[in-house]
């Protein structure tokens, strides 16, 4: 590391000598003990939204229901993210272990991995792992069984309630909330749905202890995180880093020396321009991310970048709610019209207002998050939008 402000961590991928060591030790502890450990650690969901994991598990544990469900959300679809694939490939047992611990705490007997359709090639490998794992659960007397459900490729199905619909054989459309998944998720059963990475951290916190985890990161963003780094960088790839670094430090390490902007959190995240690198923190107090870090250098047209995102969302919106379905079409048509001189520059203001409406009124995160990338790109690269 050139800069000591940036710390590489090795929790997720660190290999374990004994196969199910961590899991076995963990399930021997009491539910209260484990839950306290996870709540104390301050672990927040690693999918991007950052809901406190311990609380989620606690809510589900408190539900009185005969059947509960644990789902591992492996529908990794955010542009620029590819870390869950790596985790599932390198340390699948840790993912399964995290699910089992969650199942023990909330009292679930069934678990599913919702695997992104494009990761179908992982199926034989994962099924093999799963067979062994399910056998092991029987041996240790934990009444829990995991299956894999293969998605069909829609981005929106990564949204938890759309994911449930997809699993139920329905159209992958987000549901109205409330009820929340911990009350009524898959088939209306209380469901904990966590990102792949979150489940691994949950398990590992049980191993290393909340203290060690908490020692990393900041008060809002405890611990470390796996980043998928791509774009104009000489060293693209997957890195586990301590949370709370500044974009400046990040770019110093990963940039190619000519970094113009960093898109944090994928197409639905924020674009940070060079002038704001120093003041911007990567983490929940600054800009949270599910792991996607796209680096752009000065050869890139930010108009093209934005246009690409809008293209993506226009396709990947489920289409059910008005602001998201039509909003994206208007934004795309709008920036094109401004770029081609059919609308004057002021029209960008109208489009900004539209993103505000989309943020306030869309049914799910897909429509709500457009304001992030749109306004951060348009505000910071206005000339590129017009000329």
């Amino acid at each position: 590391m050139k800069d000591k402000n940036l710390k590489i961590v090795d929790i997720i991928f660190k290999p374990h000598l004994v196969k199910y060591e961590v899991l076995d030790k963990t399930v021997a502890r009491s539910n209260e003990d484990i839950l306290k450990e996870i709540i104390d650690s301050g672990l927040r969901g690693r999918g991007g939204a950052g809901f406190p994991t311990g609380l989620k598990w606690k809510f589900a544990a408190e539900q009185k229901a005969k059947k509960k469900i644990v789902i591992c959300n492996a529908d990794e679809g955010e542009p620029g993210t590819f870390k869950d694939r790596e985790i599932l490939t390198k340390v699948p047992r840790k993912v399964l272990g995290g699910m089992a611990v969650c199942a023990k705490i909330i009292g679930a007997k069934r678990g599913f991995i919702y695997l992104r359709g494009e990761y179908k090639y992982l199926l034989p490998f994962l099924n093999e792992e799963l067979e062994d794992f399910n056998k092991h659960l029987k041996e240790i007397g934990l009444d829990f069984k995991i299956d894999i459900f293969l998605g069909s490729g829609a981005y929106v199905c990564g949204e938890e309630s759309a994911l449930f619909n997809s699993m139920e054989g329905k159209r992958g459309e987000p549901r109205n909330k409330p009820p929340y998944p911990t009350v009524a998720g898959l088939d209306n059963m209380p469901t904990v749905i966590n990102n792949v990475e979150t489940l691994v951290y949950a398990l590992m916190i049980c191993s290393i202890g909340s203290k060690e985890f908490k020692a990393l990161g900041t008060s809002d963003s405890r611990g470390s995180k796996v980043f998928s780094i791509s774009g104009d960088t000489p060293i693209p790839g997957i890195y586990e880093l301590e949370l709370g670094m500044s974009v400046y430090d990040f770019v110093e390490e990963f940039g190619d020396g000519d970094t113009k902007a960093v898109q944090i959190g994928g197409a639905s995240g924020f674009c940070v321009p060079r002038k704001k690198f120093k003041e911007t923190i990567i983490g929940f107090e600054g800009i949270p991310t599910g792991g996607s870090m796209m680096i752009f250098n000065s050869t890139r047209s930010m108009y093209n970048v934005l246009h690409n995102y809008l293209d993506f969302f226009e396709e990947e919106s489920c289409g059910q709610c008005t602001p998201c379905r039509i909003g994206y079409q208007q934004l795309k048509k709008g920036v094109e019209a401004v770029k081609h001189g059919e609308k004057n520059e002021e029209y960008l203001q109208q489009l900004m207002k539209l993103t505000e409406t989309m943020k306030l009124t869309s049914k799910c995160g897909l429509g709500q998050s457009v304001a992030n990338s749109f306004s951060s790109i348009v505000n910071n690269y206005r000339e590129e939008m017009v000329y």
């Binding site: 226009e314 289409g319 059910q320 709610c321 008005t322 039509i326 009124t361």
Partner: protein, 593 residues
């Protein structure tokens, strides 16, 4: 249920747990605009027009989809809310075919109303209407114009929840998301039963009935043609809504005058053939019972009514192996058509090829029924055109008739006489009630044992109703029915028909006779009735139907003098040779897609 206290626009409201903010707001007289919401259907929460501000919430939630919670503070009309709503309506307009001047639903369109209320302009957003949309006019009954669709999915929910047909569903995603059929097949090629409930639940002009009034005008203008119309019972209790009368007003006399002014040569009553249906279908039921009880023959029981063409197509698609349960009787409309071009023509001395027989119906499926190849027993197409209540309303407006002040008059004669039994065909349970009034009396010689002929167990809006009537004191020729407990059931809305049929399929149906109507509420809630139609409106129309019944001197089908006359002069006897030829039909097995 616990009570919830909340504040909406500074008003304190107490509601039951589970009440949505939208419903709670209604209680304090705050009307929140909606588009995808319909009280007949489950909540979708997808148009987002009904958003409100809730203290402590980051976003503006859809009030239809958010349950009221204790201590909630809701604001429905802040600048933030108004801006968002206006933006959402603007977006919908930008995706919409805004040629309102040429839209059948103009002035009765929920999007148009909101657009006017919020003073939407066409400049804020550029049009993103798909350029190459072709209107699907393949169906005899339903026109589908995607350029006017706002993707609220009310039709989809109607087709699934009320009717369990699932002919239309959401396909594709994002900007390409649209309501379509299985493999995008044309509407006449799919499982659609033409009930038209999707039309009645559509907020815009995306789904409409296929209009035939221009053909009818042409026929009226043709001196060679003798144009007659028969109007179904539900038309007279619905039509007023289109022409300035309050919901539930009976406008029978005015309707007859108006149709005469329009130029129909003869204005007749479908209730006449409803009465005839009772005689034929009642006899068919008694014959089946005799075969089962006396001859111990295998015969399809329960027998089921066949007046509702939506229901008939439903069973043809969904239960093709159980068509023998259907009564072979044609619907009153089709009986009317085949008699108009035989009996009526003969009596009036008119060449049947010059008779144009029009049906005024509360129904979309009747248009399709008129075009079924089976329906040509008179040697011609029995019914030339089926009009909805809405189309008749349009024709009256086109003719410049001041309906409000119109004098009343009676139906013309020959096939214009009817009884209260024929009238109640319009409400769910009506066919059953009419059949029981007649059958019981034929068998026992006495009136049905219900006060003032009101057979209450088969009335009302419950989805499935049942009744048991013990037959005692039979006349000698019906002694085989002595002591039999006649079990009957009534279902309306095809989701309920499915429940009934699943029993039949399993061989567990305890009934002898079942009435099924495709539409919720029966014909008064039909797919051709004025829009809007909802539970309250259905209730008022139903009340009007029963009031019409009680206003009649004759209330039993077999007492209709014209019915007696037609059997004496033409048909000879129920289920006789002529009846078989003209009044009964066959059904066909259809695929289930």
């Amino acid at each position: 249920m616990a009570n919830i206290n909340l504040i909406i626009d500074d008003f304190k409201v107490t509601v039951e747990e589970g009440t949505s903010i939208l419903q709670a707001a209604e209680k304090v007289n705050v009307k929140i605009p909606t588009l995808c919401y319909h009280e007949d259907l489950c909540v979708a929460g997808n148009c987002r027009v009904c958003v409100v501000e809730v203290e402590g919430m980051r976003t503006l939630p859809a009030s239809c989809a958010i349950p009221a919670e204790e201590g909630m503070v809701v604001k429905t009309n802040t600048p933030k809310v108004r801006r968002a709503r206006k933006d959402i309506v603007s977006l919908l307009v930008s995706e919409h075919n805004t040629q309102c001047t040429t839209c059948y639903r103009s002035t009765n369109c929920e999007l148009q109303n909101l657009s006017a209320e919020y003073n939407i302009d066409n400049e804020t957003y550029m049009s993103v209407l798909k350029p190459d949309i072709v209107i699907d006019r393949s169906s005899w009954a339903i026109e589908k114009d995607d350029s006017k669709c706002i993707r609220c999915q009310r039709c989809v929910r109607t087709c699934a929840e009320l009717q369990h047909v699932n002919a239309i569903d959401v396909v594709h995603k994002g900007k390409d998301m649209i309501i379509s059929t299985f493999v995008d097949a044309p509407m006449n090629d799919v499982v659609c039963v033409n009930c038209g409930q999707c039309i009645n639940h559509c907020p815009t002009g995306a789904l409409t009935e296929r209009r035939y009034f221009d053909d009818v005008w042409d026929a009226i203008g043709d001196d060679e043609k003798h144009v007659i119309i028969n109007t179904a019972p539900s038309v007279r209790v619905g039509l007023g809504e289109m022409l300035g009368f309050p919901v539930g007003t009976r406008v029978t006399g005015k309707m007859v005058t108006a149709l005469r002014k329009i130029g129909f040569d003869s204005v007749l009553d479908t209730d006449f053939t409803a009465d005839l249906t009772i005689i034929e279908e009642g006899t068919e039921l008694l014959t089946r019972l005799k075969k089962a009880l006396v001859d111990k023959k295998k015969v399809a029981l329960p027998m089921m009514t066949s007046c509702s063409p939506g229901w008939v197509k439903f069973i043809e698609h969904m239960y093709p192996d159980h068509l023998d349960h259907l009564s072979t009787c044609k619907s009153p409309q089709q009986m009317f058509g085949s008699l108009a071009k035989t009996y009526y023509a003969e009596k009036k001395g008119i060449d049947p090829k010059n008779i144009v027989c029009v049906a005024g119906m509360p129904c979309a499926a009747k248009k399709y029924e008129a075009n079924r190849p089976e329906m040509r027993d008179s040697g011609f197409q029995d019914i030339d055109a089926g009009l909805t209540t809405r189309e008749i309303g349009h024709m009256i407006k086109q003719a410049g008739i001041n309906f409000l002040d119109l004098e009343e008059s009676d139906f013309d004669s020959l096939m214009g006489e009817s009884t209260g039994a024929g009238v109640i065909f319009g409400a769910t349970g009506g066919v059953m009630e009419a059949a029981l009034r007649t059958a019981y009396e034929i068998v026992t010689g006495r009136e049905v044992p219900f006060e003032n002929l009101r057979i209450m167990p088969v009335r009302g809006d419950e989805g499935i109703k049942e009744a048991t009537i013990k037959i005692e004191g039979c006349l000698p020729e019906w002694s085989f029915l002595e002591g039999v407990e006649l079990k009957v059931a009534v279902a309306h809305g095809l989701i309920n028909a499915r429940t009934i049929m699943d029993q039949v399929v399993k061989g567990e149906s305890p009934y002898h006779f079942i009435e099924i109507m495709a539409c919720p509420g029966g014909c008064i809630g039909g797919g051709g009735q004025p829009i809007p139609t909802n539970a309250e409106i259905r209730k008022k129309r139903t009340e009007a139907i029963y009031a019409e019944d009680e206003g009649k001197v004759l209330r039993k089908s077999h007492e209709n003098p014209e019915i007696k006359q037609i059997y004496k002069e033409f048909l000879k006897e129920p289920l006789g040779h002529k009846s078989h030829e003209l009044l009964h039909t066959k059904y066909r097995k259809r695929f289930r897609y």
